[in-house]
Assembly symmetry: C2
Homo-oligomer: 248 residues x 2
Amino acid sequence: MHMSKSSQTSQAQNIKTLSAIQSEVESINRIALSVDCVIFGFDENKLKVLLIRSDLKKFQGQWSLLGDLVDPGEELDAAASRILKERTGLDDVYMEQVKTFGCLNRHPAGRVVTVVFYSLINIQNHKLKILDNELHWHDVSEIEELAFDHKQILDCSYEQLQRRVQEHPLAFSLLPKKFSLRELQNVYEAILNVKMDRRNFRKKFFAMDFLVDLDEMETDVPHRPGKLYNFNYNKYEKKKKKWVGIDF
Amino acid sequence: MHMSKSSQTSQAQNIKTLSAIQSEVESINRIALSVDCVIFGFDENKLKVLLIRSDLKKFQGQWSLLGDLVDPGEELDAAASRILKERTGLDDVYMEQVKTFGCLNRHPAGRVVTVVFYSLINIQNHKLKILDNELHWHDVSEIEELAFDHKQILDCSYEQLQRRVQEHPLAFSLLPKKFSLRELQNVYEAILNVKMDRRNFRKKFFAMDFLVDLDEMETDVPHRPGKLYNFNYNKYEKKKKKWVGIDF
DNA sequence: CTAATAATGTGTTTATTTTACACATTAAAC
DNA sequence: GTTTAATGTGTAAAATAAACACATTATTAG
């Protein structure tokens, strides 16, 4: 960052002292910083997102994403991890920064700029920590309104997830370590909102050669059980492709 | 954002008052917010980025991106536009948010979180406003070190540009309104750092059917002049494809 | 126990897309 | 007017993606 606004510079060299910058930071700064977490899960063949009842009067009764102010001594992703851990009990979770939302009027308490992260978690792995307010999974496709600008944030995060899941092996983070090809296809169909051909889907994943056949079968399914697989991230890291093309 | 840290809530409903939130914001907030602009241009068949000499003693002599603190009453993208306008004289420029960088120690003056935008401008359209410090175009491929964490920011922005340019018609923003197919190919080759087949490149763009043949020819080229085209954004908006696939 | 059900598992054919590749044409430079 | 260096064009081969049907297996219902 180049701080062009300051005029307290040593004129000869036009080089600012550190203390000049520091006081500049102190005086100008009237912006609060928060993080919001878009926590995606997958259940009942649907993409879900974790929401909580808003604790603001203005949005009473409405649902909102999980977020909190960032502590001045806290890294951004650490703040997001803290929120996730508090609410789901999980750490070591796939997380990615989405975008920062800073509209002047997005928060009724004043200027609050929020850095958004999305996470992918395996719903079966965790127990929700319902603390102050209700905490529930909601179908992403059925959400029409949220508190603050959180609908817009959710839409943006979902679109980013849709883009990323097509080029990176994210889908596995939504599933148990062992999964069937049917479950994997269900994840893709839910995220991308399309139907895929079962045979071509299998062919594609076997051709990639990142799935490990565990020689185990599904249990407790009301039909012929399928084989279980897991994803070999090491193999992926070695072989992942860099494609170059123009397509729009 | 759900502000779980506060304990000054109306206990019955667990609903916070606005003033409780406001004072919370006031007291907790010790983080400064800036924007940084990664301004890309294209010249001499190379991708360029606009840099300025750092005005911080600690980074004396090093180059840095253009940035500034965000005014509390200023939108994030407005701050980025302001910087761009100040330095290049241009508005109405392609701009996209990249990511927010907030490492605790990224700025020597204290906690400064910065929202990064990249812009694409046509170098021939503007006159640099060299104010306090030197302002120069640099080959992106030759930059090895920058002040602050700006090298990391540049790398991240460049990678985002590489991804985006393959799926969206951004390249045109780096060229004059009228351009030859050769120039267009040069932009892609510079950004993606690959060589492409001239015939296949032409075939691909003609098939897309977004280029308008202007019935004009290049002038002042030391060889047979090529035809000039421009890009029809309206047609693109109507026909752009949503592709769905899995590829990694 | 048997039959019906509902899912898994597997190959081939066709269409589409991408890649590789060569020669005639045009204007500028000498 | 000859040389030079770029533009402009088409086709064949290869790779990828899409469409498509039937036998198999475990569970469920009768």
